[in-house]
């Protein structure tokens, strides 16, 4: 039982306690629990190489194998940080079926942490699916008008993608005799497990399809705006900040090292889709009349950068992609919170219902401005670092792609600043003036950690980047090495064939 297991299982314990505890304490209890989990998870920074590996099911040999490394560390911390924040933003907003709501949030935290630390493919799949259930209920029960449609769409999209991944996992097991990720990678590297080109491509596509839906990569993104618009604030925050990262995390962790040849082979069209997503997401965001939809489409655009960085196969590109995952978690999470704050006051998500908010709520508008600037990649704030690294990594591969991707940065400034202008400037209408009030202390408490992170991650990357880079270097090395060795292995056979 290591610290890592504690961080994983405490939310589950919290979930079970909440189910049986009386309703009156569920809100406080959930907050307390999630804060404890966060406090414990901070201990992971000091101890970055924890792992547990014990058998779960004897045959087929499925193991409870969880481990921490530079890639998963910050994603786990992002999850444990955002859960108490999501609970805090729901404090007033959720007024019916309170107990289930907070229980589901803790269950979601359990699933998300599990996804990021599983080193056994089967275990990974288990957590991957577990995440679906609480989010489905969060959207479906506490969402807005079209919540049911959005919840079902979300579930079915993800499910359809993941069944193919399950088939691929079983196939890999049948070939290699193990579900263990590290074991499979080492078998691939030593040549004990050889996949022919066609098989590798199909397996890659099965994994990739499932991750691409989750990211979501254009053109598989259509579930995202629906889910975001209909979800309650906490749901949107968790969905945008953490859940989307499951997809990009999967790409880095599984798709690259396990199927390097196929990844290289497909990189051109994946990058093309990513760039299409960047530009398309930004253009669609620009014309949205609904704030949440706008932020949702901006997510499609931002995550295009992440995918582009991953498939540049360069150190900077990959570092930027992983850094951008965290950035997007912080800044888009904050944006969804702020939109939620506005909604709680005015009860509308339409941009046209606002205007002149800065006058009655100056602090809110300042915070929104900082978040907006972070989101559009202003230097000294977090997104700039990620986007810069991605663009530089891509530039090493193709200047044309970089140019198109950079277009996305410009467009993001357009739609975000325009949004800011329409919501906060101008003369306050009577409805706005009547409903609007400034940030409460609870709202401050929820947003402050994210603001601090935006600045910290934008100015002092040294605190975050070294473990990421180290892990990325290993992943890239695996990806390259395998490619070379495979070619060497094949040569004698080819010679013999001739």
């Amino acid at each position: 039982m290591t610290l890592l297991d504690a961080v994983l299982f405490l939310p589950l314990v919290g979930f079970l306690i909440l189910l049986i505890a009386p309703k009156s304490i569920s809100r406080t209890g959930a907050l307390l629990f999630s804060l404890i989990v966060f406090a414990i998870s901070l201990g992971l920074i000091a101890n970055q190489s924890l792992s547990t590996n014990v058998p779960w099911i004897d045959y087929p040999p499925i193991r409870y194998h969880v481990a921490l490394d530079g890639l998963s560390l910050w994603l786990v911390l992002l999850t444990t940080l955002l859960t108490p924040i999501a609970i805090a933003v729901s404090w007033k907003y959720i007024d019916h079926r309170v107990k289930e709501f907070y229980a589901f949030l803790l269950l979601l935290e359990f699933g998300l942490i599990g996804v990021f630390i599983s080193m056994d493919l089967f275990l990974f799949y288990v957590f991957w699916e577990i995440c679906l259930v609480p989010m489905y209920f969060l959207i479906g029960i506490w969402g807005h008008e079209r919540r049911i449609y959005a919840a079902v769409k979300f579930f079915l999209y993800t499910m359809a993608g993941s069944v193919l991944m399950l088939a691929a996992i079983i196939f890999l097991y049948n070939k290699s005799g193990t579900f263990d990720y590290t074991e499979i990678v080492s078998q691939l590297q030593t040549g004990r497990l050889v996949l022919d080109a066609r098989t590798e491509l199909l397996l890659f596509l099965a994994f990739f399809g499932s991750f691409a839906i989750k990211v979501p990569l254009f053109p598989l993104h259509t579930w995202l705006p629906d889910a975001h618009v209909e979800a309650p604030t906490a749901g949107s925050v968790m969905l945008a900040s953490v859940m989307l990262k499951m997809g990009t995390y999967g790409l880095v962790r599984f798709c690259l090292p396990m199927f390097p040849n196929a990844a290289h082979q497909c990189a051109w069209w994946i990058s093309a889709l990513a760039i299409t997503g960047i530009v398309y997401g930004a253009l669609v965001a620009m014309v949205q009349p609904n704030m949440k939809k706008l932020v949702a489409y901006s997510s499609v655009s931002h995550l295009g950068f992440v995918v582009l960085g991953i498939f540049s196969f360069t150190q900077q590109g990959l570092d930027g992609a992983v850094y951008q995952m965290l950035n997007h978690g912080v800044s888009t999470g904050a944006l969804f919170m702020l939109v939620g704050y506005l909604y709680e006051r005015r009860h509308s998500l339409e941009i046209s219902a606002y205007g002149g908010v800065a006058t009655p709520a100056p602090n809110l508008s300042i915070v929104f401005l900082i978040t907006t600037l972070a989101s559009i990649g202003l230097p000294m704030l977090n997104n700039f670092v990620g986007e810069y690294l991605v663009l530089q990594g891509t530039a090493n591969v193709s200047m044309t792609w970089t140019a198109f991707a950079a277009l996305g940065v410009i467009l993001s400034a357009c739609y975000m600043l325009w949004l800011y202008q329409r919501v906060f400037y101008g003369k306050a209408s009577e409805g706005v003036a009547h409903h609007m009030y400034d940030l409460t202390s609870r709202e401050w408490a929820a947003i402050l950690p994210l603001l601090a992170l935006m600045v910290w991650m934008g100015t002092y990357t040294q605190s975050f980047l070294p473990p990421i880079s180290a892990q990325n270097a290993r992943i890239l090395e695996n990806t390259q090495k395998l490619k070379v060795e495979r070619v060497q292995n094949q040569t004698p056979e080819v010679a013999r064939g001739q």
């Binding site: 099911i57 004897d58 045959y59 087929p60 079926r97 289930e100 799949y125 288990v126 957590f127 699916e129 577990i130 679906l132 259930v133 489905y136 209920f137 479906g140 029960i141 919540r147 049911i148 919840a151 079902v152 579930f155 079915l156 499910m159 359809a160 069944v163 193919l164 399950l166 088939a167 079983i170 196939f171 097991y173 049948n174």
Partner: protein, 484 residues
């Protein structure tokens, strides 16, 4: 009389479970005539005692495996697995129906006796080692089921259900019997192992003959497992029959029918595998597709679960199609997981339906999560297991089935099957949506579930979760007991 013709005590020991079940059932029938109404309350405990004793006997018999009565029956791990499973289902059926019968003002001993007889028939199916025993077991089980389906004799739907089940069932059994006759005519034996030997011999019966016989028998089996295209009866029967009986029919007889299907095709017809595997391939796919796509259209939850149980038969057929040891183990595990899951789901339906089963529309589940959160949570577990979400038995079952299929290089069947299970998620989600995301409609109050029904529901839920989180025990047993 030659003393070697007399059965030995070991042989009686091996069929002790069936003996106990039959004797208990007969006692219940007798007491029905002599006891006063007040005393009839002992029937349910008596039936449970009989089932428990027979389960103990079935487990004990596994300690001395072997054949009995001139190889007509065989006790091995495979038989024990299915015997324990169908007896457990019988217990759940008793728990789920006591309060139901009281509610419908139809208490009576014959209900329990019929359950016991049906389970006895299924146990014989599990142990049958030759075609006549298979037929006898099937008939004992079926005839009891036909009556159970029409148990509330004043109810028109019950009558329709029973009649349909009986007519179509007899028709299908006739095909089975015809196939048996063919096989006997060409091989001169009904023993499964002997048939296999004959078929393997050079100059044995031609493939055409064997294939025709196997196909005829599959009509009978396919009816019992509700495989397409022999599935049309299932929705009408499950909808019309009393809810606890639908629960029982959708799992117990189905598991036993799969047992004989596996036994016959993996033993007797193994030499003709190349011929029947493609047929089963198509049948499995058709069954999954018919079940899932028809279920999407349903508004009655009993019908929906009926179509879903057709689809699940399709998944098990995928494992049979794999025609391997692991395929057999996967089918066994899946049937166990499915039995508890589906029974539990029907048990909750029994509860929500209320007196006269007037509330069986999906909309009638609206707001169940607010009215009775515990029941809603249990149904959620069952539905998630039917969808195949991890940590439930249904997920592991699907996982093992598709693993077996990939082992046997059935890549397309696996992919199509998995996509099917994604389609299936849609209609199960509809029930979740109604339960959790719709507000309860004002109407008749929903009384709390009685203790016996609660045992059935919670017991099924616990079994579903245990099979999903700690499947090792059952899986190890299934792997060791699997047919080679």
């Amino acid at each position: 009389m030659d003393s070697s013709m007399l059965p030995t005590s070991a042989e009686y020991y091996r069929i002790l479970p069936e003996i106990i079940l039959t004797v208990t059932g007969t006692i219940v029938m007798f007491l029905e005539a002599v006891l006063s109404d007040w005393q009839k309350r002992i029937f349910a405990p008596l039936a449970l005692a009989g089932l428990t004793a027979s389960m103990v006997a079935a487990i004990a018999a596994n300690g001395s495996p072997g054949s009995a009565f001139h190889d007509m029956l065989i006790v091995d791990g495979f038989a024990t697995f299915f015997r324990v499973l169908v007896i457990a289902v019988g217990m759940l059926a008793v728990f789920a129906s006591t309060e139901y019968l009281k509610r419908e003002s139809h208490p009576g001993g014959e209900f329990y006796a019929l359950i016991l007889f049906s389970v006895a028939g299924q146990c014989i199916m599990a142990t049958a080692n030759e075609l006549i025993m298979i037929f006898i077991g099937l008939e004992i089980s079926s005839i009891a089921s036909y009556i159970l389906a029409g148990y509330l004799r004043d109810d028109a739907r019950n009558n329709e259900s029973a009649l349909k089940y009986f007519l179509l069932g007899s028709f299908a059994t006739a095909f089975l019997l015809f196939g048996v006759a063919w096989i006997y005519g060409f091989t001169g034996t009904t023993n499964l192992a002997e048939i296999r030997r004959q078929l393997e011999m050079p100059g044995g019966p031609s493939l055409l003959v064997t294939g025709t016989a196997a196909a005829l028998m599959f009509v009978g089996f396919g009816f019992k497992i509700s495989a397409a295209p022999f599935q049309v009866w299932a929705p009408d029967v499950y909808q019309g029959a009393p809810a606890p009986v639908s629960a029982f029919l959708s799992v117990g007889p189905k598991a036993a029918a799969f047992a004989i299907l596996l036994r016959t095709y993996f033993t007797a017809f193994a030499p003709a595998a190349q011929q029947w595997v493609p047929v089963l391939w198509a049948c499995a796919l058709a069954t999954m597709i018919v079940g899932n796509f028809a279920a999407i259209q349903q508004s009655n939850i009993k019908r929906l679960l009926a179509y879903s149980s057709i689809a699940h038969a399709g998944y098990v057929l995928v494992a049979v199609t794999a025609h391997s040891e692991i395929g057999s183990a996967a089918a066994m595990f899946y049937l166990a997981a499915y039995a508890f899951t589906n029974f539990g789901a029907f048990a909750v339906v029994t509860h929500v339906a209320r007196k006269g089963e007037r509330y069986t529309k999906i909309e009638d589940f609206a707001g169940l999560a607010q009215r009775q959160p515990a029941m809603a949570a249990m149904l959620t577990i069952f539905l998630l297991s039917l969808i195949g979400v991890p940590l439930t038995g249904g997920f592991f079952g699907k996982f093992y089935i598709f693993k077996a299929a990939l082992d046997s290089h059935l890549v397309w069947l696996t992919v199509l099957g998995l996509l099917n299970s994604a389609v299936a998620a849609y209609y199960y989600l509809r029930i979740l949506v109604v339960m959790y995301m719709k507000d309860p409609e004002p109407g008749e109050a929903l009384p709390a579930a009685g203790p016996a029904l609660q045992i059935a529901v919670y017991g099924s839920a616990i079994a579903t979760l245990v099979l999903g989180i700690f499947p090792s025990f059952v899986l190890d047993f299934a792997s060791k007991a699997a047919l080679k």
